[in-house]
């Protein structure tokens, strides 16, 4: 049973007790505790259930590598699952609950899976749920849904805020242990812009806990003075609680800073995602201890040896009264010594090596600690807590030699450098057989934009596990990087003997033992699962990973990967380097979704583009339609009015009286220069160079593929200048299209463009009374004789500087009035006021669409979809026959484009007056090779016309223009069809009498 020691604990402040709750029980820890150390200190060693078998699980580690101690944190909208107790700092009022059990942590129904574990081996899900198919929906899927997922998803919106921060540095150092500090010191002194990040709240890493000696003083003192020196350097930025999360291409690195997770009362952003651009990254992320594979190695009380001494030294927590240390290396003897120094009992040191001899081994023997050599653990006894271990010969099959009662097992299978960040962008590894780990291959580093090494690993992350080696490696690397020499701190290290790779304990363990040896605690993957995968023919480590789910949990196999692939290698009879590792992917540990989103949430999720008249629309309760990032009023419903009724009212009012449209979103691009006419003729299918100043012309633009991409009215401003109107969605795209051709194709042509879309508010003044209202404002001669259809002129109206275009997209007498955007709202108000006597009403995009459809005008995005050429739409009249070339001309000569069988635009009138469903196809006789009904056309626009009080539509139909009057059938969602007559697409006022007044 774990408990708090009476003295010690370098990180806790006993004067500041901190209350928290676990599964509703009030508990007490100290300031400086992690949730894990506080739980252990309060005697809570059982912290959760495993994912698959619901086995009782306790804390294994003391840091980011923890696989078991995942808890739910917080309440209500701040509820968050899967938080690691080992990295969560304790604060007053912290509320945690355990996961993966029902009804309670101590009594869990799902634990029945453990009893069935013989029947749930690797690949079980793939094998079991295949047959019979009919079982999927009612038996298998509900079962999987019930058991899938780790923790529960939060239900409410997250009330916290998050932010990004872009930082540019010369050198990023990840890891604030002694290697990282030494690197930052050297780079800082060389004048580099340095950012040093450390994932925990404390500097110094293992060296401080392990009491290393540096430069004749304690590591603690050395770290303090190093941090102090760094804090005085203006060119160095230090960050704790900031994890190097991912390394990406060209020196882009993300770091995850947890700003308030350790506080009760919080203010400001919770997490900050650092988006760093660095010339070079130094990875000083240390090493992680590996578990040993012996039966029962997942029972609460079995911990990493390093974690045991961390809890004792850092937090004054005893993981148990009697501890058995089991190891294959000298480092674990440090744990035995720490246990002994804390006044706790070392029941035995079980060393798999036949004849260990190093300074630490000698010291343990001198202190009288029992050392068993050449031995291993046959199995751990206990259920929810370790009760003892059975000892066997490591060389044998597991025959029990003796049993040792204990309540804690401290295991060490050796150490593995943390090479994740090195590997994220392709840094390669080499297998170090002597020390049994993968370390970075200095000859195959990840590369940067200049083709040189982008990342350097130093210290333990580079395979150096001893204080002196770590510091000299850091110093040497930084001298290479900074080009400046410096001094290496001196360190005193005890002599250590060689480790012995141990991948299974005992070496020849029987099946019943292997079945209880856990590799991956979080995903419940055992030695037998990997062996089964190998037996079933899985040879690639990547396939085995997916088949067994080894290393696929939220800890990404930090503890299990090396043991897993060593097990696989043995099962395959291959060497470990031949089997290789799986791919390391960012982030190093999970980061919050909020930090990824940053500020882009709620009202800032996406920019909303607003016209100068936006606020008026909003005040009128406009129903919005998103058009690109713009918001445009779809209609302006009045009290009690449906959208459909509002649209009908707006159409009728415009056709009979006066409507106003906010057309400010229309693209407006100036094209000017001596070669502008020539350029305009290339851009448009029509001849634009012959347009006279003061006149407008409707034009079409195509892509080089020949497909219609945009349309709009062009106005000739002066001899050298044209103004191109584009669709709302087309403004930026068409401007970019123009610049692309000017910059990359015809760069010798003298043409400049400017996108002036937002300089102008543009208001469509539409309807029989439109001239009257403008004349009432006064200031320009707008009479039919002097201001003809397709004319434009500058002037003033009601005192506003305006440019007026006499153009029409509705078939009505219509003027588009542009004024500088800053005056747009005032002009809109003036038009409303002046128009009151004419019954003025604003109208929205739906009324606009209906009126254009009544007139048979096409709409980009309705009649076009990126596969339609102007010829399909009967727009041949807008394609100049005189021009040698225009963008898209050559493509329109391709055989498929000139195929007489292409579907062509026609109008469609249902025989019963109903509206053809959107997206409907015209059905033809017979079926195709897939048994689907043949088609002969499709609807492109379909509306109820308030003007004609019937359904009208446009569509593309096979030989359509030659089939006027023919009735064809369109499919409906209910499987029936609706009959429609092929007619001219101009449904209303075909002679244009309404606009020519």
């Amino acid at each position: 049973m774990s408990t708090r020691l009476a003295t010690g604990g370098r990180l806790i402040d006993r004067k500041r007790p901190v209350e928290f709750t676990f599964n509703g029980r009030r508990m007490r820890g100290f300031a400086g505790d992690t949730l894990a150390s506080a739980l252990l200190g309060a005697g809570q060693s059982l912290v959760g259930r495993s994912f698959k078998y619901h086995r009782p699980r306790g804390i294994v580690a003391s840091g980011a590598e923890e696989p078991n101690a995942l808890v739910n944190l917080g309440k209500g909208p701040r509820f968050e699952p899967n938080q690691r107790a080992t990295t969560q700092e304790l604060y007053a009022g912290l509320s945690a609950t355990s996961q993966n059990h029902w009804p309670s942590l101590d009594f869990d129904v799902g634990a029945i899976n453990a009893a069935l574990s013989r029947f749930l081996p690797a690949g079980f899900y793939y094998k079991m749920f295949m047959h019979p198919r009919s079982f999927w929906k009612h038996v298998y899927e509900p079962f999987i849904r019930q058991s899938a997922g780790l923790g529960k998803a939060p239900k409410d919106a997250d009330p916290d805020t998050y932010e990004h921060f872009y930082a540019h540095v010369d050198l990023l150092v990840v890891g604030g242990g002694i290697a990282g500090l030494q690197a930052a010191l050297q780079a800082g002194r060389a004048g580099k812009r340095v950012l040093l990040v450390e994932q925990t709240a404390h500097w110094g890493g293992r060296a401080v806990t392990d009491g290393a000696r540096i430069d004749g003083t304690s590591a603690d003192e050395w770290v303090k003075s190093a941090v102090q020196a760094l804090e005085h350097m203006e060119n160095v930025t230090l960050r704790t609680r900031c994890m190097g999360a991912g390394v990406y291409d060209h020196g882009y690195v993300t770091a995850y800073e947890r700003l308030t997770d350790h506080l009760s009362e919080t203010e400001g952003p919770r997490h900050r995602l650092w988006r760093i651009r660095t010339e070079h990254t130094v990875v000083a992320t240390g090493a992680l201890e590996r578990p040993l594979s012996f039966a029962g190695n997942d029972i609460p009380g079995v911990m990493l040896a390093s974690a045991v001494r961390d809890y004792i030294t850092d937090w004054a927590v005893s993981p148990g009264d009697r501890t058995v240390v089991v190891t294959n290396n000298d480092d674990a003897y440090r744990t035995a010594l720490a246990i002994h120094e804390a006044g706790l009992q070392v029941a035995a040191i079980v060393d798999a090596r036949p004849a260990p001899e190093g300074a630490l081994v000698t010291r343990a023997r001198e202190l009288g600690l029992p050392v068993l050599t050449g031995k291993g653990i046959a199995k751990v006894k206990g259920g929810k807590q370790v009760e003892g271990v059975a000892i066997c010969a490591q060389a044998g099959e597991g025959s029990v030699l003796q049993e040792i009662p204990c309540d804690c097992v401290a295991m060490s299978g050796g150490w593995s450098p943390v090479v994740h960040l090195w590997s994220h962008t392709g840094g390669k590894l080499i297998w170090d057989a002597e020390r049994a780990f993968f370390r970075p291959d200095p000859d195959r580093p990840p590369l940067g934009a200049d083709g040189g090494a982008a990342v350097t690993c130093i210290g333990a992350a580079n395979g150096h596990l001893r204080t002196g080696e770590i510091l000299s490696d850091a110093q040497a690397a930084l001298e290479r990087l900074s080009g400046e020499a410096g001094a290496v701190p001196a360190a005193e290290d005890p002599d250590e003997g060689a480790m012995l790779p141990v991948w299974m304990m005992p070496q020849g363990a029987k099946l019943e033992l292997r079945r209880k040896m856990w590799l991956d605690y979080q995903n419940d993957v055992k030695v037998t699962d990997v062996q089964l995968a190998a037996q079933e023919g899985y040879e690639s480590v990547e396939h085995t990973k997916r088949y067994t789910t080894l290393g696929m949990a939220t800890d990404q196999g930090k503890l299990s990967n090396i043991n897993g692939l060593a097990t696989l290698a043995q099962a395959l009879g291959e060497d470990i380097p031949q089997v290789g590792t799986t791919t390391f992917r960012p982030p190093y540990t999970p980061i919050s979704m909020g930090s990824i989103a940053g500020e882009a949430r709620g009202e800032l999720f996406q920019p909303i583009r607003k016209t100068p008249i936006h606020d008026w629309h909003e005040a009128q309760g406009a129903y919005w339609e998103p058009v690109g990032h713009w918001r445009r009023p779809y209609c302006f419903p009045r009290q009690g009015e449906s959208h459909e009724e509002a649209v009908a009212r707006e159409v009728k009012n415009t056709r009979q009286g006066l409507g106003l449209l906010d057309a400010s979103t229309l693209g407006k691009i100036i094209v000017k220069g001596p070669d502008a006419g020539r350029f305009m003729d290339m851009l448009y299918t029509n001849m634009m160079s012959t347009l006279k100043p003061g006149r407008c012309r409707y034009g079409l633009m195509c892509s080089e593929n020949g497909f219609l991409s945009d349309d709009g009215v062009v106005a000739r401003i002066d001899e050298e200048t044209w103004l191109c109107h584009t669709t709302t969605g087309g403004a930026d795209r068409i401007h970019a299209h123009m610049e692309e051709f000017l910059q990359t194709e015809w760069w010798d042509w003298k043409v400049y463009t400017a996108n002036v879309t937002e300089q102008w508010a543009q208001i469509g003044v539409v309807g029989p009374k439109s001239r009257a209202v403008l004349e009432k404002l006064g200031g320009m001669d707008l009479s039919a004789d002097t201001f003809k259809f397709m004319d434009w002129q500058d002037g003033t109206l009601g005192g506003f500087p305006v440019r007026v275009f006499r153009i029409s997209f509705s078939g009505e007498l219509s003027f588009e009035v542009a004024t500088p955007a800053g005056q747009g709202r005032a002009l809109w108000d003036a038009l409303l006021e002046a128009g009151a006597e004419f019954g003025v009403m604003p109208y929205g995009t739906e009324a606009l669409h209906i009126m254009r459809a009544e007139k048979g005008f096409i709409m980009i995005g309705d009649e076009t979809d990126g596969t339609v050429i102007p010829q399909d739409l009967g727009l041949d009249w807008a394609i100049s026959k005189k021009k040698d070339d225009y963008i898209g001309k050559r493509a329109q000569d391709r055989s498929h484009m000139t195929d007489p069988g292409r579907w062509k635009l026609v109008g469609l009138e249902t025989t019963d007056g109903s509206v053809i469903p959107d997206g409907s196809y015209a059905v033809a006789e017979g079926t195709n090779a897939n048994g689907q009904r043949n088609t002969q056309g499709r609807v492109t626009s379909t509306y109820h016309s308030p003007t004609l009080d019937r359904g009208i539509a446009m569509g593309l139909v096979l030989h359509g223009p030659d089939r006027m009057g023919e009735v064809i059938e369109f499919n409906k969602v209910d499987g029936t069809t609706v009959a429609a007559k092929i007619v001219s697409p101009v449904f209303f006022d075909p002679d244009g009498e309404k606009q020519n007044v």
Partner: protein, 176 residues
Amino acid sequence: MSELTVTRLTDRGMISLRGDLSDDALRSACTGLSGGDFPEAGHAIVSGDKGLLWMSPDEVLILLPQEEVGQALETLGSALAGSHHLAVDVSDARALFRLEGSGLRDTLQKLTPADLSPATFGPGRIRRTRLAQVAAALWMPGEGQVDLVCFRSVADYVQRLLEVAAEGGPVGFHPA
């Protein structure tokens, strides 16, 4: 909270001038309007409410009081008659913000991937970049001040972005 204020300036005129920036006539027409020197690439020379911003190899943005825009366009038209150029009033197409106070670089650095360290961004420099999801140009009229322009339609978005970034507080990366 950073001690930082965000103010939208609405009385500033802006003319986008495209042309040959090495042309003496163009340069002197511009400096005649701004009253200062002609900026090098990546630079902004501003004084009070007048200035010249280098926007691209063939574009400068002329800052001047809004009521002077009409006259300035005429001046440019006659000074550059016969030489290929395009001058347009974009005063209403852009929104101009002024940020003042401490933590300017840290605040903006939450929104832009451009390097705003004093070595690459200080008074006299201009940087066109993105702020979160929209385009913007930033320059420093003086220490403790950043002016920026964005498109008018996203002015509310940018204003809120700047406020939220400032509310997030100082980061302690850039010098104040």
